[in-house]
């Protein structure tokens, strides 16, 4: 992709383990992936259906519902029409995966920035349509897509709200997912327009907002509750720096080691650009595109 700015390459080639493999991966399109919606079908049923069309589908070792397909036409199937599958990038399936156990036990859950609903529908499926899930999004236009996707997936346990997360009324949640608005550098393999608006200044502006949101999201947790903070960007200012800000401002926050068996991750940076972070941020994980052939991602698991 010729439109990757030099400043971007310089920034990340210093940080990543294999710069050439990293840059090469950004040029390749993402594999076509989907998630089986267990509210409507089992992984075996869907696999059999897809194979009957002659598609080769591969189940991911780290999530029984996650599949990669060799066909690009999984959207033109009855499995898609009936909501038995949800077309979703693999890395974006990780936030619910790392709190699967907590979601199974949860009575009330918040998805703070929910639209268009890929993670919300995944969480509702893990919760087996039980309990209460609040799917909030600031952007009213995107809520249409959220509503459409929830209904198509047969989600019942979820209500939609339209708040700026900062102003969401107080309530204590067992689990909060904050998949924060970000510069989306990690989505370049599916959207090469991200660099039209990319700049270090934009990164810095997202970072400011994320630092506000992470404190609010943490404050919405019950004692003993769990939060996932995630982004689809590489920028340390939007990732480790934000988690460091939480640790510095909330004594009750602790980090749990993120690990996804069968999925390669790298630990969070404990410093960047002359700044030292709280060493605990090493428990966060970075997902680089060349390690698992996915988009880029960042995940922190926070306990209150």
């Amino acid at each position: 992709m010729s439109n990757i700015p030099e400043s971007f390459k310089e920034r990340y080639c210093k940080l990543v383990d294999e710069p050439e493999a990293f840059l090469a991966s950004l040029e390749r399109p993402l594999p076509k992936s989907f998630r089986v919606n267990t509210l409507k079908a089992s992984a075996d049923e869907v696999k059999a259906g897809m194979e009957s069309y002659g598609f080769k589908v591969r189940q991911m070792p780290w999530c029984a519902e996650a599949f990669v397909s060799d066909s690009l036409e999984i959207g033109a199937t009855l499995e898609h029409f009936t909501g038995m599958i949800y077309i979703q990038e693999l890395a974006s399936m990780l936030p619910p995966v790392i709190v699967k156990k907590e979601l199974e036990d949860a009575r009330i859950v918040l998805d703070g920035c929910a639209a268009p609903g890929s993670k919300t529908t995944q969480m509702a499926a893990i919760m087996q349509n039980k309990g209460t899930l609040i799917a909030n999004d600031l952007d009213y236009e995107r809520i249409r897509a959220l509503k459409f996707n929830l209904e198509k997936s047969g989600v019942i346990n979820t209500i939609i709200t339209n708040y700026d997360l900062q102003h969401l009324p107080d309530q204590s949640y067992d689990v909060v997912i904050l998949d924060a608005p970000c510069s989306a550098e990690g989505t370049i393999r599916k959207n090469d327009h991200i660099f039209d608006s990319w700049s270090p200044r934009a990164v810095s502006s997202y970072s400011g907002n994320q630092r506000v949101l992470i404190l609010k999201a943490f404050d919405l947790l019950k004692p003993g509750g769990t939060m996932v903070y995630s982004t689809c960007t590489f920028a340390p200012e939007e990732n480790e720096l934000v988690v460091d800000h939480l640790l510095k401002n909330r004594e009750g926050a602790s980090l749990e080691q993120v690990s996804v068996e069968g999925f390669k991750t790298c630990e969070g940076f404990t410093g960047y650009d002359g700044k030292e972070f709280d060493p605990r941020v090493a428990s966060c994980v970075r997902v680089w595109p060349h390690h698992n052939d996915t988009g880029g991602f960042f995940l922190a698991k926070v306990r209150k």
């Binding site: 033109a76 009936t82 309990g131 809520i143 198509k152 346990n157 939609i160």
Partner: protein, 183 residues
């Protein structure tokens, strides 16, 4: 009518400890509908049961909300009282003039529908998911009576349609319509 207390401008969510199966209003004060909310819900569940054999138990543990234009939503039983709600759950029916089950209801609970099912062939299924109305053979209709029907292809519950004689009027919402390349 339970649950409509407090600020009349609110959306009717008042307390987090409602019983399951409660009918609460979703939006807007409307006295007439308010009085009829329980009736609308009861009529709808009865219709689902009688026409399709859908047991009421599938709605246990959830709340049913009546929104504008007779829209009935199925949502979580417990909701924080202080939230402004944009959507209270899954749209299951329109009950303004007659009762029309939603496509999403049938795609979710279709496996439990026992009667008034129209099975389609492969070619008919392709047309159906594109939103096309069709004329059926009398033998395809069998003993299915006029009214809303569940449309099915093999194990796939495709959605809701309106049967009149041998005419099957498509009810697939425009946004859901799809050209199938594989079947």
């Amino acid at each position: 009518m339970r649950g409509r207390r407090g600020d009349p401008k609110s959306d009717g969510r008042t307390e987090g400890k409602e019983r399951s199966g409660d009918v609460r209003r979703h939006k807007g004060p409307d006295k007439e509908k308010q009085m009829n909310a329980s009736e609308v819900k009861e009529n709808t569940l009865k219709y689902f049961e009688e026409r399709f054999g859908l047991p009421r138990t599938i709605f246990d543990g959830y709340s049913i909300y009546l929104g504008p234009k007779g829209r009935l939503y199925l949502g979580p039983a417990k909701v924080p009282p202080n939230l402004r709600i944009v959507s209270p759950g899954l749209l299951i029916a329109r009950a303004d003039s007659g009762i029309k089950p939603s496509t999403n209801l049938f795609q979710l609970f279709g496996r439990q529908v026992e009667r008034n099912i129209i099975p389609l062939s492969k070619e008919q299924t392709k047309k159906f998911v594109m939103g096309t109305d069709m004329i059926l053979e009398k033998s395809d209709v069998g003993d299915v009576s006029d009214g809303y029907v569940l449309v099915r292809y093999l194990g796939y519950n495709l959605g809701c349609a309106l049967l009149k004689g041998t005419t099957l009027k498509n009810m697939v919402p425009k946004a859901k319509r799809l050209g199938l390349s594989f079947i």
